[in-house]
Amino acid sequence: MERLNQKTKMTASIIACIALVVLLVLSYTNTGTTSMLRSVLQLGSIYALAAASMNLLNGFTGLFSLGHAGFMAIGAYTYAVLTIPVNKKANVYYLYGVADSLANVALPNWLGLIIGGIAAAIIAALIGAAVLRLKSDYFAIATLGLAEIVRICVASSPMARITNGSLGLKNIPGFTNIGFIPAYFVPFIVVAICLVIMFLLINCSYGRAFKAIREDEIAAEAMGINLARHKQMSFIISSFFAGIAGALLAMFLGAIQSTTFPLMLTYNILLIVVIGGMGSLSGSIISAFLVIAAKEWWLRFLDVEQYIGDWQVPLLRTGFRMVVFSVILMVVVLFWRQGIMGQKEFSWDGVYNFFRRLKTKFRGKNTKAAAEGGNANE
């Protein structure tokens, strides 16, 4: 494996960052772009955060959690309950009325966002101590149970004056301009900050300790790593970011219900993590954008009956998209278990070597073709 020097890498990174920002700005200013692209990008970034936070637990610490939708629901509901403008509350809680203590509460949305994350983290801290003692499958099923408990409680009648029961909440404040930065960019900025923190985490000593636990719990413990404490930390951090992702989702959607966070949501995020590679944050990010774009945009045509001339393309009708999607997931799980990135992170060395391999392969083919076809190419 060849390595590039530090300077080239820096330049490449700077160029890539500028290119990304320019592309984002273009997607905003260019009137030619569809609103579909914009919402796919926003939703993609939110899912990227959700997937990365799940990966932190499942891929880096080796704790197979299926409770993600629950923590996202906590973040989303906390954000929504705290930020719905006072003058719109009557409209939202038209059936049950609003709890007295909340009647005059409307926090700024950035504060709501952070509190959403913290609420999810606190719940994780409370139940983590108990649930984390369970071994692999049992942990998965217990977290799954927790997510269902959250979902049912949120929709239950005793909570109606806070969460509006099964009616859900609406008029949730969305993204707003920050100074001169238009609202459109807010989710990207929030997600970018969270992802940078996560990248810092996985590359520091605590991140290494998490990986050690994933690789071999018993050896990790023998190396002086306190299993309970580190698992707890990982669980709390993952839940915090899941809470933030949930709050961002609430901002993006503007209205939420308990059914916004079903088990299927956890499965969707798991799918993104698996396609991206368990144990690779950059994989999760790439895969989140790919999956969301494919699901919400590129594969939309599968749900609509299509005609080529007079001939109706078979199979295409509502629901086919999701079938294709699940088949893709199964194919990835069965034949391509590493996903896009495996356990590696994105690096310029990786990109460079990928293209070099591609080139040698291509050249190999070319020389073969040239040998067969004589000098026809020239």
């Binding site: 000593s205 690789e215 071999d216 050896a219 990790a220 023998a222 002086g224 930390m233």
Partner: protein
């Protein structure tokens, strides 16, 4: 060599259900000694290690490190009726430490079937062992507030790899190393926790005579360089006889002999345990 006591296992009994894996084990390691723990398969050697390192709490008995009692237990719950060992009532405290706490107190170990962090690099494998002594908390670590600490850990790791001759492999994935090197790496990782007592569980398993000879020299060297006391389980008799100051022999969980290599070699009980008796 001073005669200061590093490890003392006092009347340790480990019983699983009705099966007594280790029975009334008494064992001492003094400062600077290399002690061998031998016995036929299933004699309870690894179980003894697991008791010392906190993987299991002994059913009855205690473990002392540098004169301080770190583990103590007596039969509890259902075990009270099942227990059929000795020294009941001698140990009344309940003190159980998790393995990570015991590692922090200066006891490091390797495993019988190598347990490396398989998909991580050699460097990271050793660096992880430095985590427990890191100053600062997760925030200062994530936001790179104490860069110096990280730099110190990395420098120490590099130094250790250099001393142990693993420097050239530092960026390799642990499992890509040849088998013998993996054993070395496991020892290196254990040393990175700065132990005063090192427990080696069959370090020469699967090695040819040449390799085990090298390993023996290696163990002797690290004992001197790192100021260690070593307790090792081993089946290679040349290794054990060549390097150990004293040897303990376990059979069916019970200590049947202890002494210098010469004494052990001529002990009829030991010969019987290994070869069986002529009838």
């Amino acid at each position: 060599m001073s005669n200061q006591n590093v490890l003392r296992v006092c009347d340790a009994t480990m019983q699983f259900g009705g099966v007594v894996a280790v029975n009334n084990l008494n064992l001492e390691v003094n400062k600077g000694e290399i002690i061998g723990l031998i016995g036929p398969n299933g004699a309870g050697k690894t179980t003894a290690f697991n008791v010392i390192t906190g993987v299991y709490a002994p059913t009855n008995g205690a473990v002392e490190l540098n004169g301080e009692r770190i583990v103590e237990n007596h039969p509890q719950g259902k075990m009270r009726e099942l227990y059929n060992g000795e020294n009941l009532g001698k140990y009344n405290d309940v003190k159980v430490l998790t393995p990570d706490r015991i590692t922090k107190l200066g006891v490091a170990r390797t495993f019988q079937n190598i347990r490396l962090f398989k998909n991580l690099t050699v460097f990271d494998n050793v660096l992880i062992a430095k985590h427990m002594n890191m100053k600062g908390n997760i925030f200062s670590d994530v936001f790179r507030i104490n860069r110096k600490e990280e730099d110190r850990m990395k420098a120490e790791t590099l130094e250790l790899l250099r001393i142990l001759g693993l420097e050239e492999h530092k960026d390799d994935i642990a499992t890509s190393l040849p088998y013998g090197k993996q054993r070395h790496l496991e020892i290196a990782r254990a040393l990175a926790t700065k132990p005063s007592l090192l427990l080696l569980d069959e370090p020469a398993a699967g090695m040819n005579p040449q390799e085990s000879d090298d390993l023996m020299k290696f163990v002797g060297r690290i004992r001197n360089d790192f100021d260690l006391s070593i307790l090792m389980i081993e089946h290679h008799m040349q290794v054990i006889m060549g390097i150990c100051d004293r040897i303990y022999v376990l059979d069916y969980g019970t200590l049947i002999a202890e002494g210098t290599p010469a004494e052990i070699q001529n002990n009829p009980k030991v010969i019987e345990a290994y070869l069986g008796v002529d009838e």
